[in-house]
């Protein structure tokens, strides 16, 4: 088994360092080989972009750090080609329990329905996630990783918004400095983002006056694979405790310590072990795997785009850990940005499409920060009256179901519905169901043409797709088929996914690249609120951007232009 925490990667000289190397401008340089930088670089490379990924270090994450990876992140990993490894190694969970003192207040299930490929969450140490992403990245010939390449300077050059606009990065290496030119730079360089500082930019928000202790312990234990959260438990009075299972018999225990705790003293085994022992009891053998003391802030940059530098992940926004909205929202940044960069670099879309990366993800960051701040205010009440209401909600929650809605131990990460995005075409037709413009696509179990049981999401993403529901095959009349044929030959070609009811015959005259799926359980139609003939325009990041009761070539073309920020309507 590979110990991803001890791996080191070799620095190598790159082409820019050869004397008299021509000053070529790279299409995209990603800064930071953390989880978000790696995922974004993979996404870009898979979409045909030449990517250089630079990192100032030569190792992966030390310590388990982020451990909760959401269903949406798993869907993204699936599209990137490494989801299965993550899920195989990770610990899948859907259920959370909230306790007050020793008493169970309530239980929640984050994925109460079946018929989804991926669970609500897996727990997996960050070094595995980075390791699996790195191994995927190394398979891609157009993705070059440069270790020990530290960005020490950044300068925007050329006419802003024009094709000659680019960024000059000064890179420090063991062999000395060199200049790396990039049309676009993705700054995924973490919460202390050196690039942010180099560009003289700032991040604003709230810092919370509380300290938490993470004790990851290795032990044989029979706790179920659930998220357990205690308010004021007898083994750690007046504070909160969170317990999570990780692979390799490692358990995450997160103790609230309060602002007055001494971060140096509290990190010592002499202080940590008794706290863990109080939770586990005297008979459980355990060893400390990783200990960390943290405080946190909810911060974000005013804008995620500055010229040709796009900020993604913790460099752009920071949340408290309650709700697992940090790394998970970073992957959503990456999936949003990758296809837009690819479209702009391919000249299918103007540079202004990248402005919508900023606006969409700033909107999502606000939602994540709002949720994270609310959880924090519930877990760490900031005033006496806030504490009174918190305890009142917990007291009522034992007997009265309504109060369980108010108990907030973390609102766990779900993707933002990009409802207000300018890339969406507003509904003209009445629809039910949650697959509104701006929503990320729901999964559903389907059969492929050969009768194999597969998942809908495996056929969406990477390019624009038209998802057509033809319940009995009857909705695909001649004019609809003409529409599909025309759209499949458009400059940005649409991939068609036709969803048939159980045993309907495959209609003739479909474009050659059409994927025909069968909605044998009817769950796809149900989740999409789709009637016979319904048409969904899906972005390369698996988000719905338009939907109609029936396909119409002109409308679809206009919606596609809108989703690409292309001027003029057909």
């Amino acid at each position: 088994m590979i110990d991803y925490q001890t791996l080191t990667f070799d620095y190598a000289r790159c082409s820019e360092q050869t004397p008299d190397a021509p000053a070529s401008v790279r299409p995209v340089v990603v800064v930071g080989a953390g989880p978000v930088g790696l995922a974004t670089a993979i996404d870009l490379a898979r979409q045909g972009v030449q990517v250089v990924l630079v990192d100032d270090d030569c190792t992966l994450s030390t310590g388990s750090r982020a451990i909760c990876f959401s269903k949406r992140s798993l869907d993204i990993f699936d599209r990137l080609g490494c989801g299965e490894r993550m899920v195989e190694k990770g610990v899948s969970w859907n259920v959370g329990k909230v306790f007050r003192k020793n008493e169970l207040v309530y239980t929640f299930n984050l994925l109460p329905e079946s018929g989804h490929h991926r669970p609500a969450f897996i727990n997996l140490q960050q070094y595995y996630v980075e390791g699996f992403l790195l191994e995927r990245a190394q398979e891609l010939p157009n993705l070059e990783i440069r270790w020990k390449n530290k960005v020490t300077g950044a300068e925007q050059r050329g006419t802003p918004g024009a094709a000659d606009a680019h960024v000059a990065l000064e890179i420090e290496t063991p062999d000395g400095p060199y200049t790396l030119l990039a049309r676009y730079v993705v700054a995924a360089d973490g919460s202390r983002s050196p690039l942010r500082k180099l560009l003289g930019l700032d991040s604003h928000g709230r810092t919370f006056k509380d300290r938490f202790l993470i004790a990851d312990v290795k032990m044989e234990a029979d706790f179920p694979t659930e998220r357990w959260f205690w308010f004021d438990p007898p083994f750690h009075p007046n504070q909160s405790v969170l317990l999570h299972r990780q692979p390799d018999n490692v358990w995450r225990i997160d103790f609230q310590l309060g602002w007055d705790a001494d971060p140096v003293v509290e990190k010592t085994p002499e202080r940590v072990i008794p706290r863990v022992r109080a939770l586990l009891g005297p008979d459980v053998n355990f060893e400390l795997e990783w200990v960390s003391i943290y405080t946190f802030s909810c911060l974000r940059m005013d804008s995620f785009r500055h010229g040709n530098v796009l900020f993604a992940g913790d460099s752009a926004h920071l949340v408290s850990p309650f709700g697992a909205r940090g790394a998970n929202s970073g992957f959503q940044d990456g999936e949003n940005l990758a296809w837009k960069l690819a479209m702009v670099l391919e000249n299918h879309a103007p540079d202004t499409l990248l402005d919508t990366y900023a606006s969409e993800r700033e909107y999502a960051a606000d939602e994540n920060i709002r949720n994270s701040t609310r959880s924090t205010d519930f877990i760490t009440p900031k005033s006496a009256v806030s504490r009174v209401f918190r305890d009142a909600a917990l007291t009522l929650a034992r007997e009265h179901p309504f109060a369980r809605q108010l108990v907030n131990s973390g609102r766990l990460s779900v993707p933002a519905v990009l409802r207000e995005s300018t890339l969406n075409t507003p509904d003209e037709d009445a629809f039910s169901g949650q697959m509104e413009p701006g929503a990320s696509c729901a999964d559903a179990p389907v059969l492929d043409a050969a009768g194999n049981e597969i998942w809908l999401l495996a056929h969406l993403g990477d390019q624009f797709a038209g998802l057509v529901f033809s319940r009995a095959g009857s909705a695909l009349d001649t004019s609809t088929l003409d529409t599909l044929q025309a759209l499949s030959r458009a400059p940005v070609p649409l991939k068609f996914v036709v969803m048939l009811d159980g045993d309907a015959a495959v209609p003739a005259g479909l474009p050659a690249s059409t994927v025909v799926l069968r909605d044998v359980q009817g769950l796809a139609a149900q989740r999409y609120g789709a009637q016979d003939g319904a048409f969904y325009l899906i972005r390369p990041d698996q988000h719905v951007c338009a939907r109609w009761r029936r396909a119409d070539a002109a409308r679809v073309e206009n919606a596609l232009k809108r989703a690409l920020c292309v001027q003029g309507t057909a």
């Binding site: 305890d391 009142a392 309504f402």
Partner: protein
């Protein structure tokens, strides 16, 4: 829409019971039952805009006398 017209079936009985609810409680317990009562009633109302109206009215009842305090007293 928050109903601020008389609506209590038995206003005096309700008021007496409300005060009675606090009998023999210390300050912290009183705070706790008040908070629980607010949450129970808020859930019964349910409708968000109505609750926001109630919150605005309640808040105004605290901040207004302070700003008009001196004049109010003189006028009286």
């Amino acid at each position: 829409m928050l109903n601020t017209q008389p609506n209590l079936a038995r206003p005096d009985d309700f008021y007496e019971a409300l005060i009675d609810m606090h009998r023999d409680l210390d300050e912290a317990q009183s705070q706790s039952v008040n908070a629980q009562l607010i949450l129970l009633l808020a859930n019964h109302v349910g409708e968000h805009e109505t609750l926001m109206q109630a919150i605005r009215f309640a808040r105004a009842g605290v901040s207004e006398p302070e700003s008009h305090g001196a004049t109010g007293k003189l006028a009286a």
